[in-house]
Symmetry: C2
Subunit: 335 residues, 2 copies
């Protein structure tokens, strides 16, 4: 593990270790490091990342540094003959993506991104299986909502700097974009429209507290809304939702909470030609990390195709760069 | 009542009669007429609409004819010194709207539209009250989903002819557009993007079985998806949803059904700074019809402003005329 700037380090490392990997070493600083060391007592803490990059016994490097530093690290990792799993967003500029694509093609290493809202969510995994089995016919649309709690005081400086964080659409919406491509099977997507706003945080003029994207591809469209407006009265960081509309039925995933209905997260509702039902996902296994480790060993591509991974990242970058500002309400200046 | 081509006649008449109006007469044909006559035994059935238009004891005319005939009727009604309540969509072409606006301004009569998904839904009425009281801060976004069951065999010919029906966005999405304007207070909206498709009904090449609209105005955006894909396994005609995002909280209305959770319709969920809760709306009164009757008598504008009514209709027409077709999936022709 190189770069521990985002708390996603815990789940990323937890997943791959849980799937059978040995966490050999980690390198980074920031508030997560001490706890990370305690959780992984057999891992060496090293001061220089070269100690990891040049260790021939290490095959896979995880990275959750500051977003703008992830792609350059991934490129270095691949050049050292290792595979890379990045926190999202893996890229903050299209030029980084172009370089990563070139180096990946040249080296044949894996450049993967941990889209946790799919890979770590049992209901989304089950939804994926059901859609794959044709449970709702051909998928024609997805709607993804990704609200987040801001917790501004706990955020590091780079969070408020779009150059380093990559912007709200590129960061938060990367999950919903990944899911749009995954559930529709679209391979030639385009951004129809993208918008960002700073509606209520003038103290952070660079923050985009709201973003939305409309996308389309061959025979399907996708809408995404992300925001930093989760109210304090919600029991968790965000009421993430995914609605998948098919020609024969639809499903809804309530990812982290089922407001005023059920306890816990990972809730799946399915309506098809025969019935309306709640699908219990508490026993669903999460295959991503195990598949990734298999891919590392077998040089296969089962966890997520490389093309899909880069395409999802590209669409996030394009949404961000295409985004217009929502006009200000009457009598208010737009920051 | 003139024109009984859509079953909305029952709820429109039911609401105004329930609010104290006397239903004097009706004129029309189609499969609803006999039942309508039984439900309103004191109303005269007349063969010629002039018998209604020229009856000085009649002050308000309701119309649920074929969509393309509603605006011309409304114009005639206003020219006869009466007010008009149309089923939606009230217009199928912008030129009709221009004429109605001119005649309304000239005569001072009311031209109203029965947006049933707001006026007839207790949870939406309660949501409106709560938003008006500032329960979720300033509204920055709405998402409206309006899926419908097609029941193709039960539909009349005009349903499949966009010239007469007005098209799916103009028809179905008119509700969500009304709610976008109502909940955000936007008065200068524009259509950012609109799309339609015929994904799965090649036997009805003119049918748009899917539509979506992205709108914006001063400091708010709105997304709408409507479709004819309600699966048979749903207990009602459509799982209509409304999500209203504010700077201090959000709410969700599950209009007709709360899938696999609660019985019945009109469900409201609210999350604010203090809590997450289900709001019981079973005792909420529906004020629209009573306010409209007051407006007819007092020449006031309490049920819905004339400007809002025309603006919502205009936006539906503009969405429809701006709509692009979603590209066909690989290997399939787009009808």
């Amino acid at each position: 593990m190189i770069g521990l700037d985002h708390p996603h380090v815990f789940s990323m490392a937890g997943q791959v270790v849980g799937a059978g990997a040995e966490l050999a070493a980690f390198c980074g600083d920031g508030p997560a490091v001490d706890l990370f060391g305690k959780l992984h007592p057999t891992a060496r803490r090293v001061d220089e990342r070269d100690a990891i990059l040049e260790d021939p016994s290490i095959h896979l490097v995880l990275g959750a540094g500051i977003p703008c530093e992830r792609a350059p690290l991934g490129i270095e990792v691949m050049r050292h003959g290792k595979d890379f799993l990045s926190d999202k967003p893996a890229f903050t500029e299209l030029s980084q993506l172009e370089s990563a694509r070139a180096v990946q093609a040249e080296t044949g290493q894996i450049f993967s991104v941990f889209f946790s809202e799919r890979f770590e969510n049992q209901a989304t995994v089950r939804a994926s299986e059901l859609v794959g089995q044709g449970a709702i016919g051909r998928v024609i649309q997805t709607i993804g909502l990704g609200p987040h709690r801001l917790n501004a005081a706990s955020r590091p400086d780079w969070f408020f700097d779009p150059k380093r964080s990559g912007g709200t659409l590129n960061d938060l919406a990367s999950h919903q974009i990944d899911q749009f491509l995954h559930f529709t099977g679209v391979t030639r997507p385009r951004i129809v429209s993208a918008r960002v706003a700073n509606y209520a945080h003038p103290e952070y003029p660079e923050l985009e507290d709201f973003g939305e994207v409309l996308m389309e591809g061959e025979g399907a469209t996708g809408y995404v809304r992300v925001d930093w407006f989760t109210p304090d009265g919600l029991s968790t960081w965000g009421d993430g939702r995914l609605t998948v509309l098919g020609t024969e039925g639809y499903l809804e995933v309530r990812k982290n909470v089922d407001i005023a209905v059920r306890e816990g997260g990972s809730h799946l509702y399915l309506v098809d030609g025969a019935q309306t039902r709640y699908v219990d996902c508490s026993e669903v296994a999460l295959p991503f990390a195990g598949q990734l480790l298999d891919d590392v060993v077998a040089r296969s591509e089962t966890a997520m195709s490389q093309e899909h991974c880069f395409l999802a990242c590209e669409l996030g970058l394009r949404a961000q760069s295409a985004a217009e500002r929502v006009p200000a309400p009457r009598g208010q200046a737009n920051p």
